[in-house]
């Protein structure tokens, strides 16, 4: 399985993401935001956390208009897999690959801690390594994680089983406690918590491993 990790100025979880993917068995290329094309044969694009372009204008807005993001949107349109974590989730909403937007946390505080999430669906390549209802601990580290979407889109997301993860104790004001959502074809996942920071027992937990292993397993079969 070949994965590309996109690197923007201000990305800071790109190497963690690469390590997590490699540990699960992926062949990883780091791809600079000014490149206009992905390397050939990429199965998964991972957009890492960080503060791309200093969060200028809106989180993820400048990154979403970078040359590589046009290639990422094309990759998704052709049925490719895309994982966006934290700032990567913000970028995916700004590109329109995922609905909604991440606004400033309701309590205005930067939140940095490990929190519990409930896996809402195992029906995606990203979550098939879990059972629906499992509770997992992933670190969060964000100031703008307050997922906001209009009522009609929320009803659609719920109706189509596209909420992948929910907070058990909402830290940031997200509507319906949503921590992560899937695209219509279930091949694009955006989430605020960091599964790539939960893949090594020495770093406090391994609950994220099943996400990467499940993804690798699904893509290896494809």
């Amino acid at each position: 399985m070949r994965a590309a990790v996109i690197v923007f100025p201000g990305s800071n979880c790109d190497r963690d993401m690469a390590v997590a993917l490699q540990a699960a068995g992926a062949d990883v290329s780091m791809v600079w935001h000014k490149d206009a094309a992905l390397p050939a044969g990429i199965d998964l694009v991972a957009i890492p956390g960080g503060f791309s372009f200093g969060d200028y204008l809106r989180c993820g807005a400048i990154a979403a208009n970078s040359p590589i993001c046009k290639a990422v949107v094309d990759h998704a349109a052709q049925g490719g897999y895309v994982l966006g974590v934290c700032n990567g989730f913000q970028v995916l909403t700004e590109t329109g690959l995922l609905p909604g937007i991440l606004m400033r946390n309701a309590n205005l505080k930067f939140i940095c801690k490990t929190i519990d999430l409930k896996v809402e669906t195992s029906a995606s390549a990203f979550t098939e390594g879990y059972n629906a209802g499992d509770v997992v601990g992933f670190p969060v580290a964000h100031h703008d994680g307050n997922y906001t979407v209009d009522d009609d889109t929320l009803a659609k997301l719920e109706g189509e089983d596209r909420v992948a993860f929910r907070y058990t104790q909402n830290p940031n004001g997200s509507v319906a406690d949503i921590a992560g959502v899937l695209s219509e074809n279930r091949r694009v996942l955006g989430l605020m918590p960091h599964p790539e920071r939960a893949v090594d027992a020495g770093h406090g937990g391994t609950d994220g491993q099943a996400l990467f292993r499940g993804l690798l397993g699904q893509l290896a079969q494809a």
């Binding site: 204008l57 809106r58 807005a61 208009n65 909403t93 700004e94 609905p99 909604g100 937007i101 606004m103 400033r104 946390n105 309701a106 309590n107 205005l108 307050n146 906001t148 979407v149 209009d150 004001g173």
Partner: protein, 76 residues
């Protein structure tokens, strides 16, 4: 030519930053501030003759996120 773009959160979208400013005004002793909404003003230096529809395109594609924000263009 210059244009000024005003970007504001749409009505009904909660504005925690505006709410924090409202609290701060209250604690400074300014009574009766019932609401604060915080937005952005973006000034554009443009080639003469840039059409308003081009400026609207800029707003739609980048300057505002129309999921939660509305914008108003003022040519000055």
């Amino acid at each position: 030519m210059k244009a000024r773009v005003h970007v504001m959160l749409k009505n009904g979208v909660l504005d925690p930053q505006g709410e924090a400013v409202r609290h701060a005004l209250g604690s400074l002793g300014f009574d009766g501030v019932e609401g604060v909404r915080q937005g952005k003003v973006i000034e554009l230096d443009l080639a003469d003759g840039t059409s308003e529809s081009t400026i609207n395109d800029m707003c739609e594609k980048l300057l505002a996120n129309t999921v939660i924000e509305s914008y108003r263009v003022e040519v000055i």
